[in-house]
Amino acid sequence: MSFAWAKQYEPQTALTKWLDEKLPLPRLVYNAVGAGYPVPRNLNYMWNFGVLAGFFLVVQIVTGVVLAMHYAANGLVAFATVEHIMRDVNYGWMLRYAHANGASFFFIVIYMHIFRGFFYSSYKAPREMIWLLGVVIFLLMMATAFMGYVLPWGQMSFWGAQVITGLFGAIPLIGEPIQVWILGGYAPDNAALNRFFSLHFLLPFVIAGVVILHIWALHIPGSSNPTGVEVKQESDTVPFHPYYTAKDGFGLGVVLILFTSLVFFAPNVLGHPDNYIEANPLSTPAHIVPEWYFWPFYAILRAFTGDLTIPFTGITLIPAKLLGVIAMFGSILLWFILPWLDKSPVRSGHYRPLFRKFFWFGLIPAMAVLFYCGGAPAEQPYVLISQIATAYYFLHFLVILPIISQIEVPKPLPFSITEAVLGKDKAAEAPRAGSVGGGDTGTAPEGSLQPAE
């Protein structure tokens, strides 16, 4: 797709002309992330994180492939080969710290990307498919990160693998056989380590494939923007290159400064000291905690402390562990139906007064609390706090969003992106003679809600 005014690729040299006939790869790149892709001119810095996520995927694949050249997935030597990388491989310490902290930064930028989507309703029509593919990428990332954390074969690797695969054991009847099948045994051992290594190597390439679909789906309606008003005319857009390549370049520089500060000056702050102790099946760490990026979901898992019983009969319908597992997976899977839960025709949170209150004073604090409690020991009062936050999390997406999208009176939208940026749009004056300048006085801006087809 492209807008009618998108620039066309014109090969200049004999080589590019020849290439354009045989394999139009330069044309593909030109139309995907070059001057041939018109992008809304009003994107703010929250729109930097998609490119950054792609960057960190590449960082992870490049560092990971080199690390795999020096690592051995064998329970007897895995921990020692990691130390070999840290001590004897040229710049091995840099590769490993970049890979470990690269995973953290991948999740940081993905969380920013997802919450940008929540606030600006990037999941709404016509962009549902981009959102669905994004959720798939996030799930694949979680699986990849979990298996990667097992590979150094430290104490947290081992016991994390034990706990997470144990979640499958909560499934009634078939749970235990599934857990044994996944691990290749009754506890994590060589079989589990080997298959986790194999899958940890494979999944990033699957992610890269889904990323291509994600970008492909993005290019059909084009990028969303902070007003949520669709592109109508050429003056609403600028070509991706050089405008957004320049802006993304600056954003990348800022994030790289933060990233390298961590890699070179505090590479272990996001890790756990216990993972520098070799895996020992006979010694359980005092507090088993996953990596920080799983904390909110770990908090939801642990929020369910009581079995669902029929009172006064002693009959257990669903054990607490299974409830927790359902809630934890459900908390992410419900993102798949988000485009159909939130039916408000207005996309941007800036024009949704009620939604905005629930976002900043409900969802964000609840997520912050879940983050904190997921890393805290499973004791009171953390359990109580995380239960309240978990309840809000589900209420927000499943109950509050559908209801506010029904009752909310949105603020008037600008006529176009151009009007939002410049304060006036010549094109707006012809069809809407009544409205004056930038201030939209209409109470029901019906006409500007629909995307320009």
Binding site: F250, G253, I257, F264, P273, G306, A327, L334, V399, P402
Partner: protein, 276 residues
């Protein structure tokens, strides 16, 4: 509409289950049941603060104090090695502490390395070579003395932890101990900086125990600081190199990001409206 109705029902159901079956019973027992009893040992734990003035390698510009690392190695060799191995460190690594090639060879040769004789199949011993790793330690007593290669990274704030642990030995306050019914179990030793204050390791250092080759002061505090510095090096031998590389990388990135910012501003100059 069906999806939204289903969502609302599912959302209310999961919230009801959470609030009625998990939160309410939990809140009730939190409010009315007696708080879980703390271990009596918890009353004696004190958080340490590391050596006064910190270590030479502290901070973003910190550097190794080579003489200190060599003294720390001497403490390891004369004291710690009786029970603790150092299996991820090789003798060749000692060159990084400022020893010469010949000194490393002599040092390696002063250790005996067990190996399996391929002709007889019996265990045998040979003097160490620079390529050998520090040998395993066969400990006959109770407990499992941990390998020390990574100990300062395997504990929170590890360098200070090792220092404090060396100095945390003593006797529990008898009045306090009688009050909470605390006794040091048989075979264990009281150490106020150990997480549960009962440690299997007897106090390893005493004033003047190691006579340093360079004649440096050898109080318990000095030796504790030296050995903690040495074990920081064994855990992260690339610490100083890493930070130096980091300053170079940061400098480059600051420069490149400034250029990126300026080109961003210039490219957008014609598109962005002037300040309202």
């Amino acid at each position: 509409m069906t999806i939204r109705l289903g969502g609302i029902i599912a959302g209310l159901a999961i919230t009801a289950v959470l609030l009625l079956w998990s939160l309410l019973p939990g809140a009730y027992s939190y409010a009315f049941d007696p708080a879980p009893e703390q271990q009596p040992s918890a009353a004696f734990y004190e958080h340490g603060h590391g050596p006064e003035g910190g270590f030479a390698f502290d901070g973003a510009f910190g550097k190794w104090d080579m003489a200190q690392l060599q003294r720390g190695y001497q403490v390891y060799k004369e004291v710690c090695k009786a029970c603790h191995s150092l299996k991820y460190v090789a003798f060749r690594d000692l060159k990084q502490l400022g020893y010469t090639e010949a000194e490393v060879q002599a040092e390696a040769a002063s250790w005996t390395i067990p190996f399996k004789d391929p002709t007889t199949g019996e265990m045998a011993e040979a003097p160490g070579k620079p390529t050998d790793y520090f040998p395993p330690v066969y400990y006959a007593g109770q407990g499992h003395p941990p390998d020390l290669s990574l100990i300062t990274k395997a504990r929170h704030d590890g360098s200070n932890y090792v220092y404090d642990l060396m100095l945390g030995y003593g006797e529990p306050d008898p009045a306090k101990a009688a009050k909470v019914g605390f006794e040091v179990p048989d075979g264990l030793y009281f150490n106020k900086h150990f997480p549960n204050v009962n440690i299997a390791m007897p106090a390893p250092l005493s004033d003047g125990q190691v006579t340093y080759a360079d004649g440096s002061p050898n109080t318990t505090k000095d030796m504790a600081k030296d050995v903690a510095a040495f074990l920081t090096w064994t855990a992260e031998p690339k610490l100083v190199e890493r930070r130096q590389t980091g300053w170079f990388v940061l400098g480059f990135l600051l420069f490149a990001t400034t250029l990126a910012f300026l080109s961003y501003k210039q490219i957008w100059a014609g598109v962005k409206p002037k300040k309202k």
